[in-house]
Amino acid sequence: MRKFTYLVPKTLDEAISLHEARGERAKYIAGGTDVLVKIKEGKLAPDYLISLKHILSQDRPFLNNETGELYVGAFMTHRSIEKSPLVQLHYPILHDAVKNIGSVQIRNVATIGGNLVNAVPSADGAIPLIALDGKAHIYSAKGERTMELLRFFLGPGQCDLGRGEILTEVVIPPQRPRTGSAYMKHGRREAMELPMLGVGVLLSLEEDLNTCAQARICLGVAAPTPFRALMAEKFLVGKAINAENLAEAGRIAGDESRVRDSIRGVAWYRREMVGVLVKRMGLKALERAENKAEGGRLTV
């Protein structure tokens, strides 16, 4: 493996200035489960690795009690998110996703921010955070900027990060009352698996606990980037949430997806599974919304 110098800044500003001084010869690294693999495969050959692991930040998701926003720090490991009672209780879609990434060993070191900036179509972490309407916070020498996480992904392996910019956190706005959500990775085995397809569904219900007030359907590996099936979402709003309507939403979402053949799965099957899993995740989201019917703004 090619040799590199490993730099360990303690603050964001220090990391950015280290990067600025070295330009393209430097690469940020957090957990390293993608970066090091790419270096070993010869796809990356940086002279400097700037570690973001030792920058002082929150080590688990936390709720801003004044705004109701959930802060998911980019340098948090998947395991710390998986183990967060807050996430388990109130953001099950995120829990569904992070708990099945790689293996425990990988989740102990791999960070959610790394999963996002790696920007592969199969990023499990991105789908629930988009379904939750997350905003990406990006820091650079010029200061901080914020954007919708959905818009962050530009293409396979490409995200909206300028040179030296660091994704620092994803902020999730308060959820509507009577909201339920669920994610499923469709793969061939139970661990060490990239999804053949990732499907996240978030549903907010009217007071009757039946009519759809809002729907977000987010798909991974169904297009070059994670995307929302807007036509399917639109179809659901105002309708009763039941298997029949969810199946139709799934069919619409399948038509919206731009699936392709690859060694990991064939297009027709992926598209069919969009239909099946949108329905199933929708039913699971409905069940979760009903269970949590008191809903409303969270305080922890």
Partner: protein
């Protein structure tokens, strides 16, 4: 008979702690003084002429000690058919073809040097489908061979199949295919070669065939003009074999050639990508099979014809039909059998031995059609198998002498433990499949033997030198148990040495589930000689008749007189340190009386046969096509379980390997190129995928086995795929005839059965391609 103290006990593997704590030394851990690192340049094309190779830039790179191409080396012929060479000359025939090799002072320098080797190719049309390769005008993989079909004689016809076909009340016929899967050893391949100043060669290699490898390397030396020198093969710890190390390979010869040219030890060690793309796979097959029975369900004939994708070269994969013959002729009683197999060259990777050695492929076709035939005849599938079950005392039509046979009992146990008749939920199903496999050696070579030397020290301990190879399966432990049992010692008193051809006797190799049986019998034979001597010495020392004495708990004891006893160590010292002293040593070479197959392939190739039945309960998701295994029962007639814990390990591992074969694993080749040379995309099952497995053991005490044991190394993965496929049929009514049984295949079959296209729409004659997705 004395109660058993070591044999039959659940004793952890004697190297378990070393392996779990990282102390065990694998080829990856070995480093010799002055050692260089060898790397191999592989072909960029599946089929191409080598126009020119320029190594000058590579040779100039500081740290590079040698760069070799096919032009630099003598003609060393490798493989079963001698159609392969360590470095290719003239043309390449697959992506894994070795084109050049480098030795350098560090691995990264060697790798860099590979980038500096400039090869000019002239691409040739490739052939990747064996059925197309058989047609006239297909590109020839080996021009001098004149045809792509190997001249191998796999053809037998016992009885009269055509006459039986006319008599049959029920007949089924179908086509089944299996694809490439690979062994996935945790330890990747590797070898170190070293010449001493007199040109004697030592090769450190994680081989399963030390004695045969020694012979292969001697022949290579001869080709290199190095006459009358010794070859020593040393095995480090082996991180799994499963058949993959049953041949000698280009990388081993390349290490030897580089060491010879540089006069330094050279190590060639595969990374995981190479392990996937440059080692051999299980033999892929296309099988046409028909079977027929009379109105009462008695099998009348079995007619099988196969096409094997041989790949570009020939290793043991091409000889798997010799083992496939066993289930084809002898799994259940069949009076008329015809079988033919054609091995066909293609520009794909070439196949090797892999656990089961063709038996899983053949059993998939046989046991799938057994279920189909039972259904056609309107007989319950278990009853249908029972009607046709082999029995002890049978001599099969191929001449296999069934000495002990627990097949019916295995089926009964599976039926019981799987709760076969329990009411099922929707889309739930049960399936079973049985197996026959060699369990008492396999006479593939002229010798099926194994030697053992026992040397007793002054303290009552044993040094045991065996030809056997422990590659993780636990043969050291089993051999130690057998010897400890016979000599009344504890297992920790027996030190098993299997690592070095300079000191260990000959053995044909760790294959054919033969090690417990053959090496066990060899060790037992040597131990019996030592025992006789100990009893003789003890009788003199204790002034007792020999027949009154027993060996137990490190002592020689009088059966009736508790006062009369002596520590074995003490007795040995007395014998050694006396006038005209003696030390106890014994050797034994066990070669079973099994038979080589004759010209018509008849012959009792094994002393005994292992039988088993696997049953599985599945639930099929009819919307996604996913198959979930709810419960798995794998019952085997093992003769006698020498170590039930290790035996269960063999069965669990075999079953998981078999489930991977059934459901998820495949080496994806696109025009000969390996598209998934990594564990991310090669879907070997993980610890989290392990299903509930019960491994009931039936003991039939085979008279020829050590303490009654039969071999059980391979059977665990033999009938898994058909058991799963049969269960899927029971659950949702679709029969999948191609492995692996992916969710895509299941869903497509479910939809086809309902008259729907892939996208779930009514099949329309006007728009057959309606649901094809435009890219």
């Amino acid at each position: 008979m004395q109660a058993l103290c070591s044999v039959g006990k659940r004793i952890p593997k004697i190297d378990a702690v070393d392996k779990a704590t990282g102390r065990a030394q694998y080829i990856q851990d070995l480093k010799l003084p002055g050692m260089l690192y060898g790397k191999i340049l592989y072909s960029k094309y599946p089929h191409a002429r080598i126009v020119h190779i320029d190594t000058s830039r590579a040779k100039q790179l500081p740290g590079v000690r040698a760069v070799l191409t096919g032009a630099d080396i003598p003609e060393i012929k490798m493989g079963v058919y001698k159609d392969n060479r360590p470095l290719k000359v003239g043309k390449v025939r697959s992506y894994r073809d070795e084109v050049a090799a480098v030795a350098a002072t560090a691995p990264h320098i060697a790798r860099e040097a590979l980038n500096l080797v400039e090869v000019t190719y002239e691409a040739l049309p490739g052939i990747f489908d064996p059925e197309q390769a058989m047609q006239a005008g297909a590109p020839l993989v080996h021009e001098e061979h004149k045809t792509n079909v190997l001249k191998m004689p796999w053809k037998l016809h016992y009885g009269d199949v055509e006459a039986a076909r006319k008599e049959a009340a029920f007949i089924v016929a179908d086509r089944f295919t299996t694809t490439w899967v690979t062994h996935c050893c945790m330890g990747t391949s590797g070898a170190i070669a070293e010449f001493d100043p007199a040109n004697n060669l030592t090769v450190y290699s994680n081989t399963q065939i030390p004695s045969l490898a020694q012979k292969d390397f001697l022949e290579a030396l001869k080709a290199m003009g190095v006459q009358d020198r010794r070859v020593r093969v040393i095995k480090p710890c082996i991180g799994g074999g499963f058949g993959s190390k049953l041949d000698t390979y280009a990388y081993e010869y390349i290490a030897i050639l580089l060491a010879y040219h540089t006069r330094r030890p050279v190590k060639v060690e595969f990374d995981r990508t190479e392990e996937f793309s440059a080692t051999s796979t299980r033999q892929p097959t296309i099988t046409y099979i028909s079977q027929g029975c009379d109105k009462d369900g008695k099998l009348l004939f079995r007619d099988v014809s196969m096409i094997l994708d041989n790949g570009a070269y020939t290793s043991w994969g091409a000889t798997t039909p010799s083992v496939m013959m066993m289930p084809i002729t002898s799994l259940y009683r069949v009076p008329n059998v015809r079988y033919e197999a054609k091995c066909v060259y293609t520009n794909n990777t070439y196949a090797q031995a892999m656990r089961g050695y063709g038996n899983p492929q053949a059993t998939y076709a046989i046991e799938s059609t057994m279920d189909m035939l039972a259904e056609a005849a309107g007989i319950d599938p278990i009853e249908f198998r029972r009607i046709n079950a082999n029995k002890a005392g049978d001599v099969s039509i191929q001449g296999l002498r069934i000495t002990t046979c627990g097949l019916e009992e295995c089926m009964a146990v599976v039926k019981d433990q799987l709760a076969w008749d329990r009411p099922k939920e929707a889309n739930e199903g049960v399936g079973m499949a049985s197996l026959i496999h060699v369990g008492g050696g396999a006479r593939v070579y002229k010798s099926d033997g194994c030697g053992t030397i026992i040397k007793m020290d002054d303290f009552g301990k044993v040094d045991l030198f065996t030809g056997a190879t422990d590659m993780g399966q636990g043969s050291d432990t089993v051999i130690a148990q057998i010897v400890a049992e016979e000599l009344g010692l504890h297992i920790e008193d027996v030190h098993v040495i299997h690592t070095d051809t300079d000191v260990c006797p000959w053995d044909v190799g760790a294959h054919a589930s033969r090690t417990t049986f053959v090496a066990g019998n060899a060790a037992l034979g040597a131990a019996k000689k030592i025992k006789a001597r100990l009893l003789e010495l003890g009788a003199k020392q204790l002034e007792s008749p020999l027949e009154k004495l027993i060996l137990q708990d490190r002592q020689i004891r009088h059966r009736e007189d508790a006062e009369k006893r002596i520590e074995i160590g003490k007795l040995l010292r007395k014998t050694h340190f006396s006038h005209a002293g003696q030390m106890l040593m014994a050797e034994y070479f066990y070669d079973p009386t099994n038979e080589n197959m004759g010209r018509d392939f008849r012959g009792n190739m094994s002393m005994t046969y292992t039988f088993g039945t696997h049953g599985v309960r599945v639930k099929v998701d009819d919307e996604t096509g996913k198959v979930r295994i709810l419960n798995y029962v794998a019952a085997h007639d093992v003769g006698k379980a020498i170590n039930p814990m290790l035996l269960e390990g063999q069965v669990y591992g075999g079953v998981m390997m078999g489930i991977g074969y059934a459901l998820s694993e495949q080496v994806i080749l696109e025009k000969g190129e390996n598209m998934n040379p990594n564990f991310r995309d090669y879907k070997i099952l993980t610890a989290k995928d392990v299903v509930p497995i019960a491994a009931p053991v039936l003991e039939t005490y085979d008279k020829d086995g050590p303490f009654g044991a039969k071999g059980i190394g391979e059977p665990g993965c033999v009938p898994t795929a058909p058991a799963v496929a049969n269960a899927i049929y029971d659950a949702v009514g679709v029969r999948i005839k191609d492995l692996p049984v992916t969710p895509e295949r299941v869903l497509a079959a479910i939809r086809a059965k309902k008259g729907l296209d892939l996208c779930g729409r009514e099949l329309s004659q006007d728009h057959p391609d309606e649901c094809v997705i435009q890219q």
